[in-house]
Symmetry: C2
C-alpha cells in the first residue's frame, strides 16, 4: 500500500496513531505555558507544488509567512516568532534576497519576527516556515455548538480564480484579473479577526483547502452538522466578472476553491459584528456532515 | 552571484542583514516568556543530502529528532514540543510507518512530544523538524571567557568514520565497524548534560559541523581565541581500530569530522565533573581564531 492509496488525511490519521497523540488535529497545536498558550504551526511552500519559479519571489516570501500566520490567527492567536527552513538549489543570490524581502515585509505587517532557521541544499526551492503564536484563549476546530451560526470573513473563491488565470499565461490581463492573481500570490492573513475569534468563536479555522473541505474538519472534530446556504456566499466583484467572462459558476469557486486564507468560525448569531467583513453563511445543528442547500457536500481538493 | 559563490555562512549573514535581526546566531533562538525561555530550532534531513533511502527508516526518524534535540541540549534546554514537516514521494506506507516509529522512540527517549506537523508532496523524502525547548537559563555561543577551559563530551570522529564505512557498501562489516556506523545512523543527543550546561557553561553548542568549525563559531561570537591540544582529543576504541585498519589519523576525524552531536562548551577548569564523560581539550584566551597545537586551524565542512 502506498501513500496515494490512503490520501493525505488517511496518512495523517495513521501517523497520529503511531505517535499515540491526543493533541494533533488542529491547524495549530495549543500548548499551555504558565498563564498563556503557545500556538505552534508549520507550513511548507515547495517549488512546482505550491509555486513556480516565475512567480515574483517577494510574493513567494510573503505568502510563505501568510499561510502560517493564517493558521495562528484562525486559532485566535497573535503571531510572534518565526523560524525559516530553506531548501535551496544553487540560485542567483538576487532571487533569495527578494524572497527574504517578502518575508521581512510580511513580518513587519503581521508584527512577528524571524528568530532563526536553517539552510540546506535541495534540488527544488522550498520554504518551510515554523511559527510560534501566543493566545490567552486559543480556539480550534472542536467546540462548534448546535444553534451556532457559521461565518466567513472576506470573499471566497478569488484565489482559485487567480491561480487559473496565472496558468493561462496570458500576455495581457485585465485589471480585475490582476486583482484576482494578486489574491492568489499575496494572500493576507486575517489578523484583524484575532480578538473577535478569542472572544466569541466556539470553533474556528482558516480556509486553506476550500470552504466545504474545511467545514468538514469542523464537523468531524465538533461532532455536529453544518448547513451552508449557497445564496449567502460572499463573492468579490472581481470573481463575478471572472465567472461571467469565462462562463463559470462563482459558487463552485467559493465552495471548493482553496487557498483563500479567510477564516471560518461558529458562534451565536447575536455576536455578528457589523464593523467586520463577516458573512453568516450557514448554521450548526446536531448530526454530522456538511450540507449545501440541503444536499450532502463531498470533496474539496486533496494533496494526493 | 550565486549561492555557491558566498557559501552557507555567507548566505546566512546576508539573509540576517535583510531581516535586520539581532537575535540570529545560535543553534537555537532564545526567547524569554514570563520567567522561562523558549528555545526554538529547526533542522532538516533531506534524502540524498543527509541520508539515503537504503538506510533503516527508523534510524532516519530517530536522527531527525536527535539533531534538533542536540541543538536544544547544547544550549542548556530540555526538548519539549515537536512539529514534523514531511516531504513525501509516493512511498510504500510501511517505510513511513517505520520512519515514524523511529520518531516516536526518540520522543520517548528524549521526553518530548510531536504535537503537529504538515505533509507535502515532494520528489525526494525530507523530514523537517521544528523543536521547542524550555530552559530557565539558556547558554549560547557567546559568553566564553578568557581563562575558561574548553570541554567536549564523549568521543569525537566516530560519525565520520561510520559514514565512510557506510559508503564502502561492504558485504560484511566487523563489529567495531558496525558500532561506528550505528553512531552515524543513530546519534544520541546529550540531554544528560543539560543541567551541567545550565549551571556552569559560559558558552556552549553541539558539534554538528566538526570540532574546529564549531569552535570557530564560539570564537567569533565570544570574541576570544581557542587553543585545542590535539593530544587530549577523546577517541573511541572503535575509531582507533578503524584508523589502524584503514591507515587514517584519528585526529583528522576528531577535528574535522561532522555529525558527532557531542557538546562543546567552556567554563572554569574547576567545574570539571569526574562523573561525566567530559574531556578538557583546550583553553580560551584573549585574541581570536582557533589554534590546534599552536597552529591556526582552518576549515571544517561546508554545505555548499
Amino acid at each position: 500500500m502506498r501513500v496515494s492509496d490512503i490520501g493525505e488525511f488517511g496518512l495523517i490519521r495513521r501517523l497520529t496513531e503511531i505517535l499515540g497523540s491526543e493533541v494533533i488535529g488542529d491547524d495549530c497545536a495549543h500548548l499551555q505555558l504558565g498563564n498563556t498558550y503557545l500556538l505552534l504551526t508549520t507550513d511548507l511552500m515547495l517549488e512546482d507544488v505550491h509555486f513556480l519559479r516565475r512567480y515574483p519571489p517577494e510574493a513567494v516570501g510573503w505568502k510563505s509567512l501568510s499561510v502560517n500566520v493564517s493558521d495562528v490567527a484562525g486559532n485566535g492567536g497573535e503571531p510572534k516568532w518565526v523560524l525559516v527552513s530553506l531548501m535551496l538549489p544553487d540560485l542567483e543570490l538576487g532571487y533569495i534576497e527578494r524572497l527574504y524581502t517578502g518575508i521581512k515585509k510580511a513580518c513587519e505587517f503581521y508584527r512577528c519576527e524571524v528568530v532563526g532557521g536553517n539552510v540546506s541544499r535541495g534540488e527544488r526551492l522550498g520554504i518551510d516556515v515554523f511559527l510560534v503564536g501566543l493566545s490567552p484563549k486559543p480556539v480550534g476546530r472542536k467546540g462548534a455548538k448546535p444553534g451556532d451560526s457559521l461565518f466567513v470573513t472576506g470573499t471566497l473563491g478569488d484565489s482559485r480564480a487567480g491561480l487559473e488565470l496565472l496558468s493561462m499565461e496570458k500576455e495581457k490581463y485585465e485589471d480585475f484579473e490582476l486583482a484576482l492573481i494578486e489574491r492568489h500570490l499575496r494572500p493576507t492573513a486575517r489578523i484583524d479577526y484575532v480578538k473577535h475569534i478569542q472572544k466569541y468563536a466556539n470553533a474556528s479555522m482558516d480556509i486553506s483547502d476550500g470552504l466545504v473541505a474545511d467545514a468538514h474538519h469542523i464537523c468531524e472534530r465538533s461532532s455536529v452538522r453544518i448547513d451552508i446556504d449557497s445564496s449567502k456566499l460572499p463573492f468579490s466583484n472581481e470573481l463575478l466578472r471572472f465567472c461571467e467572462k469565462y462562463g463559470k459558476d462563482p459558487k463552485d469557486y467559493a465552495l471548493y476553491g482553496g487557498e483563500d486564507y479567510q477564516l471560518l468560525f461558529t458562534h451565536p448569531k447575536a455576536r455578528w459584528n457589523p464593523f467586520l467583513d463577516m458573512s453568516e453563511i450557514g448554521i450548526v445543528s446536531e448530526g454530522k456532515g456538511v450540507f449545501v442547500d440541503g444536499k450532502p457536500a463531498e470533496g474539496g481538493y486533496k494533496h494526493f
